[in-house]
Symmetry: C2
Subunit: 236 residues, 2 copies
């Protein structure tokens, strides 16, 4: 069974939801039969690389919250993160473009390091003081910390086209599947879970999708093939 998870590094609920999903998966009896694949989604795809601002300023300007409302939201998110054992700085975080990070995640995927880099990006963005935005060397440092090659990471960052189409393809697929926000979980392309649901919802989704694994519908009888007893001989 395959679970695809669309998320954005700038999405606090993705950070929290990933931990909740992993808790459900860790308790799932068939967890060894579950493959998890991470996919890209940008909450703010139009934002320029150097357009960085404090989260609170973004929340008040873009969504018309008062500063107190915005801070209360961060405080609440910090509490939700803490409940999952995740560090979260409720003061002084930045917001910016995550496109380059998604391009690096696709670069990391080719080396089998996508999830490690995603976790490193989350941790850096939500829990560490130094901003992850508009700072290529910060991203290279995080890539190297999970075992990626510094020069390879720099080359991706220096070429805006590198893995750009991979990110866009993930985003088109999310739209096609009906995701309007993230985190968005898709189980065997049959069941969906939207948002950082409680652990028991993920557990139910895993159960349901596992039960629903159906035998394949064969489109035709067997054609010419090779098997343990040899290959079909044409005309035989």
């Amino acid at each position: 069974m395959r679970v695809e998870i669309w998320s954005d590094i700038a999405c606090p609920w993705c950070y929290v939801g990933k931990a909740r999903f992993e808790k459900a998966l860790g308790e799932f009896p068939h967890r060894d039969g579950v493959e998890v694949v991470h996919r890209s989604f940008e909450l703010d795809p139009g934002r320029g690389k150097d357009d960085v601002e404090p989260v609170l300023g973004m929340l008040t300007a873009k969504y018309g919250m008062s500063e107190a409302q915005a801070q209360a939201g961060e405080d609440n998110l910090g509490a939700q993160a803490a409940a999952e054992g995740l560090p979260y700085r409720t003061r002084g975080r930045d917001h910016g473009s995550t496109f380059d990070m998604h391009r690096l995640l696709h670069f990391a995927e080719a080396a089998g390091k996508r999830e490690a880099l995603l976790d490193a990006f989350y941790r850096a963005n939500f829990a560490e003081e130094r901003s992850v935005f508009a700072d290529d060397e910060r991203l290279v440092e995080l890539a190297v910390a999970v075992g990626l090659d510094a020069e390879g990471a720099r080359a991706v960052l220096a070429d805006p086209a590198a893995h750009a189409e991979d990110v866009r393809a993930d985003e088109r697929e999310a739209a096609r599947l009906g995701a309007r926000g993230v985190p968005f979980f898709v189980l065997d392309r049959a069941y969906g879970v939207s948002g950082a649901q409680p652990v028991e919802v993920f557990a139910r989704a895993l159960d349901r999708a596992w039960q629903a694994r159906t035998p394949l519908a064969m489109v035709q009888g067997d054609g010419d093939a090779c098997g343990p007893d040899g290959c079909a001989v044409p005309g035989a």
Copy 2:
């Protein structure tokens, strides 16, 4: 939509079936929405690395064919391959273990070169004189020809555990899905095609699987998530 193709390099019908599938895919109107993934399957998993013999000898010894029957089978396969525009040596091919090639295919996958290397292995095995079996430098040469790193390929070959579990995982998955031979095509984990079917069977399978793409069943209403209009505020 995702199409997974299980195949073995030593499988002539896989070589032919891949070309037929690709013809159907090339004519499929939604081909840009189809992702193709190749997976490993060994027809002869117990064979030792140095256990190489002529195909005709293997066919007569293992399957009790007469030499004339075995040669007629090869001639027929050569004709089927030619009909798809594929070169095929009907005389003098070898048979041996493909495990190391599958391990290299997984190594190539990490660099986005799996299909290129699979095509190179097929071509080398079915159309070129030099054997691909029990000859590590031959495999390294083919890997380099598709853009892989020679030292990386040698390191995989030198370590029998490298990507071994990836190959086994593909094979377990094939067994679970009911594949008893190859090529075996799985569309969105819902439809299967067994064998080198005619192009029109692949076309029908693509149509059917495309039509059957269903909206996801959401396991629960929306949970806390971030979207283009901001993040849910807990308790708000």
